[in-house]
Amino acid sequence: MSLNSHLRGWLLVGLLALPAAAPLAAITVRITEPEFGVPVFGRVKVVAEVESEHQISRAELFLDGRAAGLLEGPPPYRWTLEVGEDNVGHRFEVMARDAAGEEAHDVVITPAIQVDQEIEVELQQLYVTVTRGGDAARDLERGDFTVNDDGVRQQLVTFERGDVPLAALLLVDSSDSMRGERLRLALAGARSFVDSMARLDQAMLLLFADTVVHRAPFTGFPGVLASGLDGARAGGGTALSDHLYAALKLLEDRQGRQVVILLSDGVDTTSVLEMSDVLWAARRSQALVYWLRLPLGERPGAISSAWRDGAGHHRELLSLEGLVRSSGGRIVPLASLGDATAAFTEILGELRGQYVLGYYPEPRRNDGHWRKVRVRAGAGVKVRAREGYVDF
């Protein structure tokens, strides 16, 4: 069992975190790594950004109240520490001083994972959306659900409603068809998602065309996600498959519920991977994929390329639809980009209302075959969950 798979098996609920200290007057410090509210183990990189009108003379790092490193001279300030493998919280504090004698400090608390919620790695988790008459049904109990895995009814061992922290990757098409106002509207939607996230949620923003146009790291801070976006410009071809694959891989080692939210019309013109390749990866991923599907309005008559004709593009679009469905996510058609904000918010609401069901799959074979999963929740409701997973 690898460390990463171990971490993925933890269920994080209600972690305690303290607010960062306010900066002092003329000099400011901000710890950018480790991330606030995220448990840390082993070797940890600590990065602090310090700004002042005067020359900055030194920065000192304290770990759990003890001096852990002093750097003299101007920034950058980076330390690498060994914090151990114990499941305990840590307090990182950086104190900086400038030539005028002004001091400032910043604190980041990383919590422990609550031991009573540790779950064995073999536990299979299903994120289940249930609706009744189009509205979220949030009044179901454990006994209302039945799960069939590979045709065998399973015994549910965990049952949760609501706020399991998210790790969301917002994948925004920034190719030629998104130039100008369209990109601005798309990013406004992405911002609204981040603005509405809960305290322990994290998101990463990835703008792509035929290559990465812009990326913001996984963070829970809207400001971090928005930084540098002003310079982002749409243009170029669309390598959707390549970047959807990258998104799934980037989520693999993130804790909590993994979600990809793709904003695109779905037309791929320059990927080196095909959608069937991405489907292969998606079946091995825990991520839910949501697709905010833009109308093909920008490309009438042009849905062909030297790589594939119209029919080929159509097949790729169908594959993408299948991928989204089988992941347990869904397609949200957008009539216009003006609806992007509402759609992002809708998805966040849906994620908040999901049930999380856990069970030990029986019989376990670990032979790499596809296990089909079916979830039921009684009459009068619609249930959506991932359609299966690869047993490996």
């Binding site: 071809g237 080196v272 091995r284 119209g310 216009s336």
Partner: protein, 978 residues
Amino acid sequence: MVESGVVRTLKSSTALTALAIAVIGLGSPAAARVSELIEVRVVNVDVTVNDRKGRPVAGLERADFEVQVDGKAVEIVNFYAVEPASSPRGGAGTTLPAIDTTPPETGTAPARPLQLAILVDSSNVEAHARNEALERMRDFLRAHLRAGAQVMLAAPRRGANAGTVAPYNVFTDRLDLVERGLDELAATPAQDRRLAEFREILQDIGVSLAASSASVRGRVRSLEARIRAFSAEASRGTARTAADLRRLVDRLAGLPGRKAILYLGGGLSLRPGEALSGALNQAIGRYVTQLPEGARAPDLPAPSPDDDSGELLALARYASVRGVAFYAVAVGDPMPGASATISRGSVEAGSGATPGQEESWAPAVGNRRQFDLESSLQLLAGATGGLATGGRDLGRLLDRLLEDSRAFFSLGIQPPDADPGEVHRLEVRIRGKRLRVRHRETFRAMSRDEEAAARTLSALWATVNDPNPLKIRLEAGDPRPAGNDVYSVPFSVQLPVAALAIAPRGEVHAGQVSIFFAARDRLAAGPVRKAVFPITLPDSEILEAMGRMADYRLELEMQQGPGKIAVGVRDDLDPRLSVHTLALVVGEVAEPLTPPGLLVAVETGEPRLAPAPATVPVPVPVNDPSLDPPLPPREDPSVSNKAKGKRRRKYRLPEDETADGYRHALRLLAGGDTAAAQAALRELESGAARHAAFDQLGKIESQVLLELEKASPDGLLPVALLHADLLPIYRRLSLAPLAEHALRMSRRLATSVASQGSLETRSVAGRVLTELAGMLLRAGRLGECEELFELALGAEEDNAVARLGLAVSHERRGRYEQAAEVLGPLAEKQPAHSEARLRLALNLERLDKTDRSRPLLKSLLKASPDWIPLLAVQETVRIAIRERRLKDASNVLAAALERWPGHPGLRTQQAFMLDRRGKPRQARDEVARLVAAGPPDMPSPRDRYNRWPASDAAQSELRESTGERLTDLGRALEAVTP
């Protein structure tokens, strides 16, 4: 001392003329600037703040806001919050904010007056949907309109009066007047012709593509032409409505308080042909998949060229800088009654579709159509701080409009370097809170003249409660008949000299007033005029003058009937502005004004001119188009009243002048000044475009060219290139008809030279045709481009660029066999042509001819330029992974990554291959490195493969070869010059 005289005579394009006479003007002009003026300008920005659930937020303070102008933070010098006294959700008792001039004392203030213009657009919507929206509007106004708020109801005029807005009332708080307007509007027929046309085309697409394949190609062409015509007409409609909205912005711009326009209609089409083009594409796509093998498929239609985004963006900016917010909702069904189905099943040559197998495409087409109609409204609202609701939800929009007008924050800023006329970008943020803000995105520091003009113009349409700091009075004289129901209307502007700032200067006192005036009558609403009156008073007379009135007399020509004059007087030394209006009924009128209250009656308390109130007024139906007649054309003041109302005759270009103009452009070209020749030709063709006289222009140009062709066929070659060079320019400027004209002309000329020119010139003509074909390929007009490529190859078989272009077009259509056939001879004749070999290899691979494709790919691994071997590597790896030869893939990739270590395509493949080999963590690390690395230095080779393989060198060579024929052109021009 009293002086009088004619100061200025203004000729108006509106048939309104003014004579300004300073009766007590004390009119010696000031010799120099009399005072240094330092002015602090403040720009007010109204900001609406909502929480995450969309509810208005109260309780914020100045320190919570951060304002940036052009990306730089600026200080907030004024701040106050307008907070609702009652329920923020517009419950019972909530009203539109009334006028309240009480100054804010503690940072909060009562609501400012809302000035709301409602434009009801009956195009693109069915009458019942529009009327349902009007009823909801009526309920809303009944519940919320109270004294103080002002509402104007307006509708665009179409037909003979197109280009004007019919006001159903001036700005008023009288519900009965607005309701009467709503009644009248509900009784007018909807102009839903375009909806019907849309429906018909959509239905015909389904029928045509289900019929026998023998005639399908012709039907597709016919449908394409109909879509283009529909698109052009709809685009003109959008432009007309945009112009109407701009007029409403003008009427609002000078009013105090919150200013908003509510658009109520079916929506404005941004790219009107898009939904239908998409439907046709979809139909063709399905049709093609059902064709038997070997059957020829129809060409995909070209994208519709019309795009009105630029026009609407300009309108949004126009409104934004004037502080007018757009609220908009598209009501009704975007394609009512369309039976949007397409036949499925096997369609064989000569047979129809299998009956009963139909699939609805309504959601896709409907979505595109709705997207098209609503994105314009989103654009207008977003840039002005207003709102446009999706989902055609008028109720929600009205609630939000009410909330916005009752709860907002007003921030006053002093923008740095606020040069009048310069547009600045504005951004407001709230520190440390997750709240949503809306505000206008731009502002412009208006000059004092613009401000005065805007307030004067707005006063024509609204009741102005101006404090009148200069204490001006307006008095009207007796109108005198001037013929054709036109009267000369004298009026005077009076103000006490003591109210003016007059500064000592040597032995005199000097000052200056500027008078802005405008009028509207039954036929015209004129522009604002300005007259400047310097004042010079000897010191010895200053005390006496202070007790007197200055009297400035002006005269206007106005049509008989109700009208209004608005005057703004500004003291130029101490820039205070007084705006006053004068409502009047001009001339003898015969019958009562019924119903009363429209236009004239709502403006009470102001003097009326002859005839006296006892005179029987003229009946004026509330929707009488003459209430707001066409705004006069700005560029053609010579049009007489007699010409009005006559049907416009088809414009004809002056043949001789046009031919001379064309020859002039060609002479410039022959002289080697290509830029001047392009400019001259653009001017000539743009002139023709203004009158849509393309056919005639084409004939005249062809006539000139025919003469030249007789003298020297080779001389036409540079002319072909001249027209071809204009094509991308016209496209960039979105001048679609001109671009099509350029394409037609260059194609005709190049084809002519390719068939009749000398042997040497034919190959150059082939290259011109190749360039044209490349433009069509980029535009996705594959059928046309293939035809031109074929012609080019006919002129020069070894034209490698044409051969590659033709192959690309075949690839885009999935015709890999034909692509390989085109490329084979090229790869054979020019083995060093690596692009030809690469394309040939990939097409052979697609055809499973691996015995030929694999060696070719292998031979390209060390070719140049870089994008060729990169693609050869990528494709080799793809094939190897597909065939589960992971070790081979790994080896090829490892070698390639040594040569191009950071290339994202290779790294993506590397990650995927690691994944397939059971190394997911290494794959993840590879992806993380790839994402962190950012964009590579070189462009994407896969994007390059998609593109037209033109090169700068080839273009330069083409121009050089063509330039050699300029002498022929010059000789031909000399020969044909009379």
